[in-house]
């Protein structure tokens, strides 16, 4: 930043535009349509576990802010589609969450490894949960 105020101010730069375009491409959603009504956040059953509200994730995505890739929120999302059913602008927010997970996973980052589970956990967890977690959370 030319005047040294980059800490204080966010400025939309070409890299932000690129990140935003990538999220739109992977999700197939036009996130510009979001007008920040908050319906997705208030429909989400898991916001208590999230660091960013779903509506904030969308705003970060609109602005192409890299912070969105480090957020817990896309991983907490269980793809229940409540947000998507209630979005008045017809954005499939779960698709955007998936796109963000996809982008993180493409950096060879695994959110879930079987090795970390104890034998007890492996015995007790339902098969279906293990499989879907592997599908969703590993590269």
């Amino acid at each position: 930043m030319s005047n040294g105020t980059s800490e204080l101010y966010f400025t939309f730069r070409p890299e932000n535009a690129a990140l935003k375009a990538k999220i739109e491409e992977l999700s197939g959603e036009n996130i510009d349509l979001c007008f920040q009504c908050g319906a997705c956040s208030s429909s989400c059953p898991l916001t208590s576990e999230m660091d960013l509200l779903p509506s904030t994730v969308i705003r970060y995505a609109q602005l192409g802010m890299e912070e969105v890739l480090g957020s817990k929120t896309p991983w907490i999302c269980i793809t229940c589609f409540n947000c998507e059913i209630r979005c008045p602008r017809g954005i499939d927010i779960a698709n955007v969450m998936e796109a963000i997970r996809e982008m993180v996973l493409r950096t060879k980052y695994d959110k879930f490894t079987l090795d970390e589970l104890t034998p007890e956990e492996l015995r007790e967890l339902p098969q279906i949960a293990l499989i879907s977690n592997q599908r969703k959370l590993t590269a």
């Binding site: 101010y9 966010f10 939309f12 510009d32 904030t56 609109q62």
Partner: protein, 786 residues
Amino acid sequence: MSEDLRIGVWVCECGGNISDVVEVPSVADQLEPEVAYVHRERYLCSSPSVEAIKAAVEEHKLDRVVLACCTPNMHTETFRSNLEQAGINSALLEIVNVREQCSWVHKEDHEGATLKTLDLIRGAIARIKESSPLESKVMEVSPEVLVIGAGVAGITTSLRLAEFGMKVHLVEKRPSIGGHMIQYPKVFPTLDCSQCILTPKMASINQSRNIDLLTYAEIKEVSGVPGDFDVKVWLKPRGVDVEACIGCGDCTRVCPISVPSEFNEGLSPRKAAYIPFPQAVPSVATIDMDHCIKCNSCVNACPPKCINLDDPGKEVELNVGAIVLATGFELYDIGSLAQYGYGKYQNVVTSLEMERILDVNGPTGSMIINPKTGETAKSVSFVLCAGSRDTEVGKAHCSRVCCLYALKQAQLIRDRGIDVWIHYIDIRAPGRRYEEFYAATQDKGVMFVKGKVTEIVPEGDRVLVRGEDMMINRMVENPADLVVLCPPIVTTEETLKLAEMLRVPVDEDQFVLERHPKLDPLATKRDGVFAAGAVIGPKDIQSTTAEAEGAAMKVVNFLSGERMIEPNKAYLAHSDLCDGCGECVDVCPENAIRLVGGKPVINEIMCSGCGACIPACPQNALDQQGLTDAQLKAQIRGLLESSTAEVKILAFVERAVAYTAVDLAGLARLSYPSSIRIIPLPSLARLKLEHLLHAFAYGADGIMLLEAPEHEGPYGSAHVVSEERADDYKWELEDYDVDSVRLWFSRVYVPDWRKLELVFNTFHNMIEDEGPVEDEVREVLKEKLG
């Protein structure tokens, strides 16, 4: 003379609604010796009864009629028109409300209700003895109309009126009509071509035989009265004979002087001899005398030889019946707010300048180029509410159209692949197809940032737009090649001058005040002066057009058919007493009074009949037709003097709003003491202290003043005065040994009618505790009153 009067009294039983509570036969028997004729009727409003009244009037040679029945809000018109047929003037008919305000509210108190009925009728009889016949007058009006301002509002109103067959004088300050709308390339939300839809209308103005178009002109003086205004119009010296000019433009080509073009918001030059834009109406040249150097090049070049550089200007006199204000708006001087950098940084333009940039015939030929630097813009930022919605600097109001025109401009710019940012506080898109337009703008990839822009600072050839992104709680700072400011839409200097000239008040926001903001939005506070478009507040073209059509209808309504002047006006009853102090002039809420030769002249058309001037006169020189002091005093005395009720409370009730609330209390069968006796008045501003003293002298123990809310009802402006007066009267009563608690003032809102039960009961109890006014006090009062 009153002894010879033949008064007929009818008491309606209302099929038991009245007679189940009020002893109607007893009332009739007691009145029998006092008047020429008394009759009881089961249903007074039925057709046979109405016919019977007419027959009785004839048979008994009655000359005045008192009807005791339901509220006058029900059947007054029926009774009036039928009695007119029987030769009884409307002013010689009194209707006494003994249902809503007597039998229905005193169900448990037959004796009290009967007494009250008798008192109310006796009050009406006493009053009607003082009444004389009154006639409405037909007002002479000029069938011509003056429309000021020839933007889309003035054009639309003029065309409608011309189609209707009225003669219209359309006055425009600029050389061409078209207003701001002709400056816009596209209009929201349809993105259709503004000039394509307005130009045909402009041409129609030129072609209409009924429209006298006066451009490059201003209103110098307005005198006269509604229906008959005399107007002086100043045609500014334009150096060109409008009739002879053929609009060839030869003068423009040879003119050596260049000045900034108003049409292009100063972004490109025009000549001193110029036609402001190609579609101008009238399509004639104007010589800008402020800049002309009188080189005579144009005079020599002009083929029809119609240029006269010594044109002195000309004054035209018009006589019109009505005036329509359609003077539109201007943008707030945004250069005065330094944080936005307008005038300081060349990258900052106003929204009107951006309109011109986007026009194919504009200064950049619709290329998104900064006209001040010639640089192509790659990113454009909009600053909404630049100086709006701010009670500290700029303007407090929302300009209503900025969101939409910013969306429009953003779409047009975004379509060229340019980055567009819109900084907003709220996006307000409340109109048909507007929300969809907002969504369409987002769909095109225009970026929105919620948060008011705090400042614009330079960075190299660009500027940085700073503000908060409230959605992420971060400050943002985006570079822009062009910043478009959307400043407040404000009233024009000319409008303020005209408002003063026309004696039309403006509101706090300086836009012209409507007669009623909801129910009469196109009329101003002055009769015969109407308004349409942005002169009564910022608005879009749709609403402006709708208002303009409506204003035309208002004018037609005002000038067509017979304009009747109701006979309820204030008048100078005792010219000899008047010392020309002018108190009445100052207090009149309608500005209807002028001093001529040291005496007030009350304009009958402007006088609303509120009566506010009458108590203001220190000499008691004024009175009111149909509501004279003599009538009022007779009614007060007649109502109280012979009454045998224990507690007597007189309630003066504003006739339109408060009276309706009291009726509603009756309709709901609420219950309050029969001590409350009501006299309706147009506004309580009509009451003099003398009236109150009169009431206390002849038996009142307490007086209630139930006034409508300020500015509500037909005499709304007068209701302000009445509260101030009531405060004074309270203390003045003490001088006559009447305790100030005996006077009660409340404002009554229609929806508050349920509370009236409590109000009446509370005051009754207060007065009962207080006891009756002592006889000595009454005697002293009677003596003083003569």
